[in-house]
């Protein structure tokens, strides 16, 4: 018997990334990026970048209030991918230096965080 599904249909290839990357707060997603290894970021980016358009279309297809746990995990995963895209596509080999600067500029409030 297979384990319970973590993500909506069509996004199974991203399930291995849920445990580390699907943080439910903005500062949590930022911390995932800053604490991750380059190997972790590249693995997540490599698996998720091509699915991102499909995932955002899926997520846009229903009201946030109707999201189930699987939808929320996909949303958090895709929001984490925003931060990973900045690391992989913008900072590239400068990410370690960038991360030390980002730690000095912590995110202290986010209106979309679960209360």
């Amino acid at each position: 018997m297979s384990a319970a599904r973590l993500l909506p249909n069509g996004f199974a290839p991203l399930e291995p990334f849920v445990a580390f990357w699907a943080a439910d707060t903005l500062s949590g997603r930022d911390t995932c990026r800053l604490d991750s290894s380059e190997e972790q970021r590249l693995a997540f980016y490599g698996a998720a970048a091509d699915l991102a358009g499909q995932a955002w279309d899926y997520l846009d297809g229903k009201p946030l209030a109707d999201y189930g746990a699987e939808d929320r995990r996909l949303l958090y995963l895709m929001l984490s991918l925003v931060h990973v895209a900045l690391a992989v596509e913008v900072q590239r080999d400068g990410e370690a230096e960038h991360a030390s600067g980002a730690r000095r500029m912590p995110i202290t409030h986010c209106h979309t965080d679960p209360v």
């Binding site: 925003v82 913008v90 995110i107």
Partner: protein, 403 residues
């Protein structure tokens, strides 16, 4: 105008010429005696942005605000009557701080020491065994107030109980302009904060000149070969001065796809579509960067619609608070993406500044230089220097005159 002046550079008018071209004395960026004068002449008697009305959504909502430069802690609260007030977080019995929480909701504030209890309008409501005091007028024991007022939803306080100018008069025409921005309708905010070993003006100046962009922000802002663009330094399209305040118009910018950024560009496209659909783009001030004396920026750009306040902590240390303001909860996943990307991308850029600011302060603070230099496109920094200098000198002459 010489033949090399590019079209983006507005010819300086008389107001800008009045700022001169002299080198700038380095001492005012680290000297503790000058810093103390700035605190007295400016920060203790000027309107300072400390928050937004959306933080006080209902009667009883409050937040605490630390103004270290004055050793002051304020409680900013909405009373039962709906009015916003600012009080010193100091019990009028023996001075104990009343509130430790950063924010919350409370009908009353009680002193932990002897349980003097104040209403959220600052009135002393009760004090155990009050008959044993030698106080005729209980109202004289109400919490000490600071001045408070609101513009564009932004809450400003002034430690001067009788400000020389009301807030609107102080903010001038730029106050009316920011009232047209989304911040004035905001109901929610996101925030990131930094503390840095740099004088508040060193920190602030970094955010009012574009000269450094292609060197410090080459990854986020791009640094195209100098000869391939008319404005390789991304200088503002123009500047304007309003008393001690100033504004410039951003030349806009685009994220260069070199090296390739396929995912980021896709996400930025979704963000832009979302903000357009929400009607946030296309306003008269989309590219305007409002810089209020002494320490506040408000950027009109809908995809970077932030405020940034820089508070002095000491002669060589400051704290910056970036706030992104939003109207309502995200309407859907794309709105959530847009807000998160807007903040993350701005912070990506701002993170790149910290290291060079600390290096700048180390150099200036060493005393090696008597003077340093601002070029014509660093005129906003020069204007801040002049505004500070004038106010400190006015303060000294007032003080001298009072003797």
């Amino acid at each position: 105008m010489n033949e090399h002046t590019p079209s983006f550079q507005r010819p300086f008018d008389d107001a800008l010429k009045g700022l001169g071209t002299d080198p700038i004395p380095a001492g005012v960026y680290y000297d503790p005696d000058w810093y103390r004068l700035e605190v007295e002449a400016i920060f203790r008697r000027t309107w300072l942005n400390v928050g937004h009305v959306c933080e006080l959504p209902e009667p009883g909502s409050f937040f605490r605000c630390e103004l270290e430069f004055a050793n002051a802690s304020l409680i900013v609260a909405r009373g039962r009557d709906g009015a916003i007030r600012a009080f010193h977080n100091v019990c009028t019995h023996r001075g104990t701080q009343l509130v430790g929480a950063a924010r919350g909701k409370a009908a009353t504030f009680s002193c932990p020491y002897h349980r003097w209890t104040f209403g959220n309008d600052g009135q002393l409501l009760s004090a155990p065994d009050f008959e044993r005091f030698y106080i005729d007028d209980k109202a004289s024991c109400n919490l000490a107030e600071a001045s408070v007022d609101v513009c564009a939803g932004l809450i400003f306080v002034n430690l001067d109980r009788r400000p020389r100018q009301c807030l609107r008069e102080f903010l001038g025409p730029m106050g009316e302009m920011i009232e047209t921005l989304p911040v004035s309708r905001a109901s929610a905010w996101d925030e990131y904060v930094y503390e840095i070993d740099a004088n508040w003006k060193v920190t602030f100046d970094n955010f009012q000149e574009n000269y450094h962009l292609r060197f410090i922000h080459k990854r986020t802002n791009g640094a195209p070969p100098l000869e391939t663009t008319e404005n390789p330094y991304n200088y503002p399209m123009g500047f304007e001065l309003f008393g001690p305040h100033r504004m410039n118009t951003s030349p806009g910018g685009s994220v260069l796809d070199d090296p390739p950024k396929p995912l980021l560009l896709q996400l930025l496209g979704r963000m832009a579509a979302q903000f357009a659909e929400e009607g946030l783009t296309g306003g008269a001030h989309d590219r305007d960067y409002f810089i209020f004396f002494p320490n506040l920026y408000v950027f009109g750009n809908p995809s970077m619609h932030f405020t940034h306040a820089v508070l002095p902590l000491s002669a060589e240390r400051s704290r910056g608070v970036f706030r992104f303001y939003w109207n309502g909860e995200p309407s859907g996943a794309r709105a959530h993406l847009a807000r998160e990307l807007a903040l993350a991308f701005a912070r990506e850029i701002h993170t790149e500044d910290g290291d060079v600011l600390m290096k700048g302060q180390k150099g200036i603070g060493s005393g090696a230089l008597d003077h340093f230099h601002f070029q014509s496109q660093e005129v906003m920094c020069r204007h801040l220097y002049h505004s500070v200098d004038r106010m400190v000198r006015d303060y000294l002459s007032e003080k001298g005159g009072a003797r």
